[in-house]
């Protein structure tokens, strides 16, 4: 369904040019979940945004490769085609729900906006918004949808973000650090919810995270990004239990284990990674 081939993305021009993503390739089949794991600055968020060409150009430059979605190159689409793709076929959930929702519009109007763009045939908008909120586990959705984002907790805000992303039945959900801004218990709830939804509706997912600890139960495959390149790629079980690349090994070594008696947390020694 989605196939990224030798994609390269740069930022800036001339001497200040930075190669943020270097010649990466991966693909996601219908209903499949790929976890893109890497540290801050490794290029994983840039990759996620690039899938619908959401990066600000300039400074971003798509310097090579192609992004094929249903056999069409996203990089060659017209603005109108891109708008149909965004939210309609590929939807996003971002890291910080408190700033990612517009503070001056109600939850209902923000979800209704997505519906009006991609599913204009929906006549009873209120009922559909309530149904979306119910799907992500929001209690009393017909009342909550008239709330403004600041009236909701962080976990509920993220549920609203997910509801908004799912409202238009996308084929691919790009979840960019969806649980990073949330505390650990809420993190677990949100991940459970996403797992549940994935079982209910057939939807592919690109889960972008720095945390190997959360991908276990949810991702089918893992791609590890380091300094703009994919250094390791395989099934989740394979990568978690038998990592090949030294960076992946180091990253997995950093996950704190329950019952472990160590006084210092493991860190990564970059001098050995080349």
């Amino acid at each position: 369904m989605l196939s990224v081939r030798s994609l390269s993305i740069d930022f800036g021009a001339g001497a200040a040019r930075v190669h943020a993503v270097k010649d990466i390739s991966f693909s996601i089949g219908a209903g499949e979940t790929l976890a893109l794991v890497g540290e801050s600055g490794s290029g994983k968020s840039v990759t996620g945004l690039a899938l619908t060409r959401l990066l600000q150009e300039p400074p971003a430059v798509y310097s090579g490769g192609e992004i094929l979605f249903e056999d069409r190159d996203v990089l060659k689409m017209s603005p109108a085609e891109l708008r149909r793709l965004r939210g309609g076929k590929i939807a996003y959930v971002f890291q910080e729900p408190s700033t990612s929702l517009n503070p001056v519009f109600t939850v209902r109007s923000q979800i209704a906006e997505a519906l009006s763009l991609h599913r204009p045939e929906v006549s009873d908008v209120d009922a559909e918004v309530a149904r979306c909120l119910d799907l992500v586990g929001i209690v009393d959705p017909s009342k909550r949808m008239h709330d403004y984002p600041h009236q909701l907790s962080g976990g509920m805000q993220q549920r609203v973000m997910i509801a908004m992303a799912l409202a238009c039945h996308p084929q691919l959900l790009v979840a960019d650090e969806p649980t990073t801004a949330l505390d650990v218990t809420v993190q677990a709830q949100i991940l459970d919810q996403m797992r549940l939804i994935k079982q209910q509706i057939k939807m592919a997912m690109l889960l972008i995270t720095h945390n190997f600890g959360i991908i276990g139960g949810i991702a089918d495959r893992v791609a590890v990004m380091f300094r703009g390149s994919i250094v390791e790629h395989g099934s989740t079980a394979e990568v978690l239990h038998n990592p090949q690349h030294p960076y992946t090994k180091a990253l997995i070594g950093c996950i704190p284990q329950l019952g472990q008696r160590r006084r210092r947390l493991t860190t990564i020694d970059y001098s050995t990674l080349g």
Partner: protein
């Protein structure tokens, strides 16, 4: 909401009293009431005429507190004036004796005819231009427009006035360069030039400010969310950016509303428009303390009212703000 408004309006009383006390102190620190009488009546006035002038206007009373035995302490110039103002009785001019309520009513119309169109047109133009510049941001036209704005800002208002009067009025003879006559639609010919000058002199700074304000909104996370939903650039700008920018815009705009009625001191003088700015300017020169005092009184009330209105508008535009 109601108790909030009531509380805020109660606070007006000590604030206005403080402003009045300061104005009073500043005015009579510069000159005694006697010196004022001499300036108004001329150097040849007899001591008797001066005394009569002072007595008729109450200036023969002690300034702040009456310490004369057998007289009530509050029978002073300042306190008796405050008691009069508290009933919204503005009194009458020290010089002409005309009731000030009438003077201000007459002056308000020319002032508003000048400032309201200039304000509204200027606001629409600067917000529209700013939104357009944000829409085409980073393009060459955006850069050139920014340069033009700085140029517009850098020219002093006086230069606009002098060149406007010279070019439009003298050389091309489109409008009269000076004067004012309230006469239906033909009043416009006296006002178009000062209105245009008022817009031009403020446009550069406003466009730059609003552009910066909207650009800041454009970088917010929720704008990325809107784009990720497939919202078009124009709708992102008019819906998401504008509604959020509005909150900041309100502070700048609503607080300036009261000044519209006070008129434009400079332009009214240069174009001979008999508005409130002109009234105040003449009163300071004469000097006519009654007019200065009444202007400051009304001005501070209007200003406080404007600030209150700003806060009410805030609550209306931003759901995160509640007044209680």
């Amino acid at each position: 909401m109601f108790s909030y408004l009531l509380r805020r309006i109660l606070f007006f009383v000590p604030i206005v009293a403080g402003v009045m006390l300061l104005t009073f102190a500043l005015f009579f620190m510069v000159q005694s009431p006697k010196a004022m009488a001499h300036r108004v009546l001329g150097p040849k006035a007899t001591p008797k005429a001066v005394e009569l002038w002072l007595h008729n206007r109450g200036y023969d009373k002690p300034l702040l507190i009456n310490r004369i035995p057998e007289q009530p302490w509050y029978d002073s110039l300042f306190i008796s004036q405050m008691r009069r103002l508290a009933t919204f009785d503005l009194g009458s001019s020290d010089v002409t004796g005309r009731p000030l309520a009438e003077v201000f009513r007459q002056g308000a119309l020319p002032s508003l005819l000048l400032t309201v169109p200039a304000f509204l047109a200027g606001l629409v133009m600067s917000v529209g231009l700013a939104l357009y510049l944000v829409f085409i941001r980073n393009a060459a036209a955006d850069f050139i427009a920014s340069l033009l704005c700085v140029a517009l800002m850098s020219v002093p208002v006086m230069v606009y006035v002098i060149f406007g009067q010279y070019l439009v009025a003298q050389v091309f003879n489109y409008f009269p360069a000076f004067g004012f006559q309230l006469n239906g639609w033909s009043t416009a010919k006296f006002l178009l030039l000062p209105i245009a000058l008022m817009i031009v002199s403020g446009l550069g700074a406003d466009v730059r400010l609003f552009r910066a304000l909207f650009l800041e909104e454009l970088g917010q996370d929720y704008i990325r969310t809107a784009r990720a939903k497939g919202v078009s650039s124009a709708v992102v700008l008019m819906g998401h950016v504008f509604k959020n920018g509005l909150i900041n815009l309100i502070t700048l705009v609503v607080a300036s509303l009261p000044f519209l009625i006070m008129g434009s001191l400079l332009l009214e003088n240069f174009f001979g428009i008999p508005g409130l700015g002109n009234v105040l300017f003449t009163a300071i020169q004469l000097p006519d303390f009654a007019v200065v005092q009444a202007s400051v009184f009304l001005g501070s009330l209007l200003y406080l009212g404007g600030l209150l209105l700003t806060d009410v508008c805030y609550a209306w535009a931003d759901p995160r703000i509640r007044l209680h």
